[in-house]
C-alpha cells in the first residue's frame, strides 16, 4: 500500500538482455518521464540511454551502469510543414513516426525493420533502411539534436554549430550523452502502398548485380537461403519495392510488440538443419509463386512486425548476426571465400541478405560505399569458430563490420576494420572525458 515517492532518481534493478540473447545482466534502471528526471543526480554513476531495448550489441545496458529508459520521451514537439521538418523526442518509435508522417502526407526514407525501434536508437546506431545506397543512413536525415550531458546540460547541436559532437553522436551508440530530441527531414509521401516484386536469384553476386542495375529503386534488398551449399550457395530472392496507390489487403498496424525477453521465450532453438531447409525452401517457393505483392507502407517498412516467429525460433540460445560492408574492389573475393568458409566450417547459417550501401558518418558506423552482407546463424558449436574465421575474412577483404549487429565483435577487429574508430575514441574523450556514458558495447570495444 505504500505508494512510492515521486523522487527523480527512482531506480530499480532490472535484468536486460541483448536481442540476440548473447548478453544478459542486471543493472539499475531509471524510467524518467519528466525533464528534471534527466537532470537527476545519479551520484556520478555511469549511465546509458535505452530506447526499445532491441539492440543486438548490448548497447543500451552495462555492468554497473544506470539504464535510462526513454520510452516516455516519445512526443512530437514541432512541425514545419513548409520546410518538411519535424522535431521529435528520442523515445518516439519509428512506427509512430511513420504513421504520424503519413497522416500529414509525408514519409521518412530510412526505416529499420521493426516499428518499435526509437528515433534515439536509430541515430545512436545510425541504422539504414531498404535502399541505403540511395537514401543513406538515418543520421543523414537528422538536421539537429538536443543532447544532454550532466557537465554541459541540454545542448542543441547541428552539423554547423558543433560538428565534432554531432559527428560523434550519429552512430556513437549514446556514448556522447543522452539524445533528448532530434529534428528530422521528411519527404512527400509518394503513395500509400508499396508494390514489391520478388524474383529468384541464384547467387550472392547475382543479387549484387541486380541491385546495381536498380540503384534508384525505393526498396532494394535480397534474401538468401542459409541452408544451401555447394553450387546452390547463395540462392535466394530479390525484393524490389516501388511506391504505388494500388490497394492492398491491410494496414498491418496491429502487431504484438516484440521485446528481447519475448524473443528468447522458447527454451530451445527450433532452428536446426531440417527446419531451416524446410522453412527456407517453403519461403523461397512462396515468394517466387506470388511474384509481385502489394503491401501497406507499414508492412513494407517493417516486415518483422507481423512476422515474429523467425526471431523467436532462435529461442533462449539466441542467434548470432553479423553484417559487413564489403567494398566493390574485394566483392568477388569476399563472396568466394565466404562460400568456402561456410562449406568448410558448416555453421547453422539460417539466412543471408544483401543491400547496396552508402554511409557518410564519422563514428562507429560503417562508412563508405559497397555491398552490405548480413548473416544470421543459430548458436551451435561451430558458430564461434565460423565467426572467428569470418573476422579474419573481414580484415583480409577490407570490409567493415556493423557494430550494431554483432554482440561479440572484438575491439581488435573494430579498431582495425572501422575507418573512424580511432578518431571516434579521441572525440569521445573530449565529449565525455569522465566516460559517464558507458555500456556493455563500449566496454567490449574498449572505447
Amino acid at each position: 500500500m505504500g505508494r512510492a515517492s515521486g523522487d527523480a532518481t527512482a531506480l530499480r534493478t532490472s535484468r536486460f538482455i541483448s536481442f540476440d540473447g548473447a548478453v544478459a545482466l542486471s543493472s539499475l534502471h531509471q524510467r524518467p518521464d519528466r525533464y528534471r528526471h534527466l537532470e537527476a543526480d545519479l551520484g556520478g554513476g555511469k549511465r546509458i540511454a535505452r530506447g526499445a531495448g532491441l539492440s543486438y550489441s548490448a548497447a543500451s545496458f552495462g555492468e554497473g551502469v544506470v539504464v535510462q529508459e526513454m520510452s516516455s520521451f516519445n512526443r512530437v514537439l514541432a512541425f514545419d510543414r513548409d520546410q518538411r521538418t519535424v522535431r521529435v523526442e528520442a523515445g518516439l518509435t519509428v512506427g509512430d513516426l511513420l504513421v504520424w508522417a503519413g497522416r500529414n502526407g509525408l514519409s521518412f526514407p530510412v526505416l529499420p525493420g521493426y516499428p518499435l525501434i526509437t528515433v534515439g536508437g536509430c541515430i545512436a546506431a545510425d541504422v539504414h533502411g531498404k535502399n541505403p545506397l540511395r537514401d543513406g543512413t538515418f543520421s543523414d536525415w537528422v538536421g539537429s539534436m538536443t543532447v544532454f550531458h550532466p557537465a554541459q546540460g541540454f545542448r542543441s547541436i547541428d552539423r554547423a554549430s558543433d560538428p565534432e559532437l554531432f559527428a560523434a553522436t550519429c552512430g556513437g551508440f549514446g556514448l556522447t550523452g543522452l539524445i533528448v530530441d532530434a529534428t528530422l527531414r521528411l519527404l512527400p509521401l509518394p503513395a500509400s502502398n508499396v508494390s514489391v516484386r520478388q524474383e529468384p536469384v541464384e547467387s550472392l553476386l547475382e543479387s549484387v548485380e541486380a541491385l546495381r542495375r536498380n540503384p534508384e529503386v525505393d526498396f532494394g534488398y535480397s534474401w538468401h537461403d542459409g541452408a544451401a551449399r555447394g553450387s546452390r550457395f547463395g540462392r535466394g530472392i530479390m525484393f524490389f519495392g516501388t511506391w504505388t496507390d494500388e490497394p492492398c489487403a491491410g494496414t498491418g498496424r496491429s502487431y504484438r510488440p516484440m521485446t528481447s525477453a519475448l524473443r528468447a521465450r522458447f527454451p530451445l532453438s527450433l532452428w536446426n538443419r531440417a527446419t531451416v531447409a524446410m522453412a527456407n525452401g517453403a519461403f523461397r517457393r512462396l515468394k517466387i509463386h506470388r511474384g509481385t505483392e502489394t503491401k501497406s507502407s507499414f508492412d513494407a517498412a517493417f516486415p518483422f512486425a507481423a512476422q515474429t516467429l523467425y526471431h523467436r525460433f532462435f529461442g533462449r540460445p539466441g542467434l548470432a548476426e553479423v553484417q559487413v560492408l564489403v567494398p566493390d574492389a574485394s566483392l568477388e573475393r569476399f563472396v568466394g571465400e565466404l562460400a568456402a568458409l561456410v562449406d568448410r566450417v558448416d555453421p547453422l547459417l539460417v539466412m543471408m541478405s544483401v543491400k547496396r550501401f552508402l554511409g557518410r558518418q564519422r563514428s562507429l558506423a560503417m562508412s563508405g560505399s559497397g555491398s552490405l552482407f548480413a548473416l544470421d546463424l543459430a548458436r551451435t558449436g561451430a558458430t564461434a569458430r565460423f565467426l572467428s574465421e569470418f573476422d579474419a575474412l573481414v580484415l583480409d577483404t577490407g570490409a567493415q563490420p556493423n557494430v550494431a549487429k554483432d554482440s561479440r565483435l572484438p575491439a581488435r577487429i573494430a579498431a582495425m576494420a572501422l575507418p573512424h574508430y580511432e578518431s571516434f575514441r579521441r572525440r569521445l574523450a573530449e565529449c565525455d572525458p569522465e566516460h559517464l556514458y558507458r555500456s556493455e558495447l563500449s566496454r567490449r570495444l574498449e572505447l
Binding site: M1, R3, R12, P32, D33, R34, Y35, V76, L77, W100
Partner: protein
C-alpha cells in the same frame, strides 16, 4: 483543465481527452514537460492545448495566470486533479515546511483550484470535477503520514462538494487509486499488481457522465480497503506496509 497533466495519470488523461477532441489546459510544475505534451497533443490530434507551470506546493497559487490562459479557450467544462506529491521522510515529526508542502500539493491547493473554478463550471450545463485519492489513505500508517491525511481530507472535501452540487450540472467524482504503473511506483515492490494509467484514463473518460461519487481503481481495492478498515488495532499495528 488537467492539473498534474504532464506525466503518469495526468498525461494519460490529457492524451485521452485530446483523442476525444477536447481543448486542454495542462498544468504541471515544470513548463518543459507541459510544453512538450501540449505540442504533441496539438500535432497528433489537432486540439488546442495550452501548457502552464504551477507549483502546487507553494501558496498562494497564481490563479490569475490560469484565468488568463482560459480567456482564449472554449468554456471550462472539466477540472481533473491528477496532481500529487509524495516524498521520503513523510512521518510524524517532519519539518513544518515539508508538512506544509505535502498538504498544499495534495489537499489545500487542489481545493483552492476547485473553489476558484467552481463558478465557471457551474455556468456550463454539463461539467465535471474529478479528484484522485489513494488507497494509502485508508488507514494511517507510519509512512506517508501527511500525504495520507491530505488525501483523506481531499476525499472528504469531494464528498461535501458532491453534496453541495447535487442537482446541478456539475458531476463530482472521486477515484481512490491503488498502485499505478507510473514513475511514482517505479522501483517499489508492490503487494498487488499495478494498473495501467492509460486504462484508468479510458475508464475515467468513459464514466464522465456517471454520478457515482467514489470509485476504487482497480476495483479489487474496494474489498481490500474495507478489510483493512475493519482490522482491529492489535492486528493492524503489527502490519508493516
Amino acid at each position: 483543465m488537467v492539473i498534474g497533466g504532464s506525466s503518469g495519470l495526468g498525461r494519460a488523461l490529457a492524451e485521452r481527452l485530446a483523442r476525444a477532441g477536447h481543448s486542454l489546459v495542462l498544468v504541471s510544475s515544470d513548463l518543459r514537460d507541459t510544453q512538450a505534451l501540449a505540442a504533441d497533443l496539438a500535432l497528433r490530434w489537432g486540439v488546442q492545448a495550452v501548457p502552464m507551470a504551477l507549483d502546487l506546493a507553494q501558496s498562494p497559487l497564481p490563479l490569475a495566470a490560469l484565468d488568463a490562459a482560459l480567456a482564449a479557450m472554449p468554456p471550462l467544462t472539466g477540472l481533473l486533479l491528477a496532481a500529487g506529491m509524495n516524498r521520503e521522510g513523510d512521518e510524524p515529526g517532519q519539518a513544518p515546511a515539508s508538512f506544509a508542502a505535502l498538504t498544499c500539493a495534495n489537499y489545500t491547493n487542489l481545493c483552492h483550484l476547485v473553489d476558484h473554478f467552481l463558478p465557471r463550471l457551474r455556468r456550463e450545463p454539463r461539467s465535471w470535477i474529478v479528484g484522485f485519492g489513494s488507497v494509502a489513505a485508508t488507514r494511517g500508517r507510519t509512512r506517508n503520514a501527511a500525504y495520507s491525511a491530505a488525501k483523506r481530507a481531499l476525499q472528504s472535501y469531494f464528498e461535501s462538494l458532491r453534496h453541495f452540487l447535487a442537482g446541478s450540472g456539475v458531476k463530482v467524482q472521486f477515484y481512490v487509486l491503488g498502485y499505478l504503473d507510473t514513475n511514482l511506483a517505479f522501483g517499489q515492490r508492490t503487494l498487488l499488481p499495478r494498473a495501467s494509467p492509460q486504462r484508468l484514463a479510458d475508464a475515467v473518460y468513459r464514466r464522465k457522465d456517471s454520478d457515482f461519487g467514489v470509485s476504487y481503481y482497480p476495483r479489487f481495492w474496494y474489498p481490500v480497503c474495507a478489510l483493512l478498515r475493519q482490522l482491529p488495532w492489535t492486528v493492524f499495528r503489527r502490519l508493516s506496509f
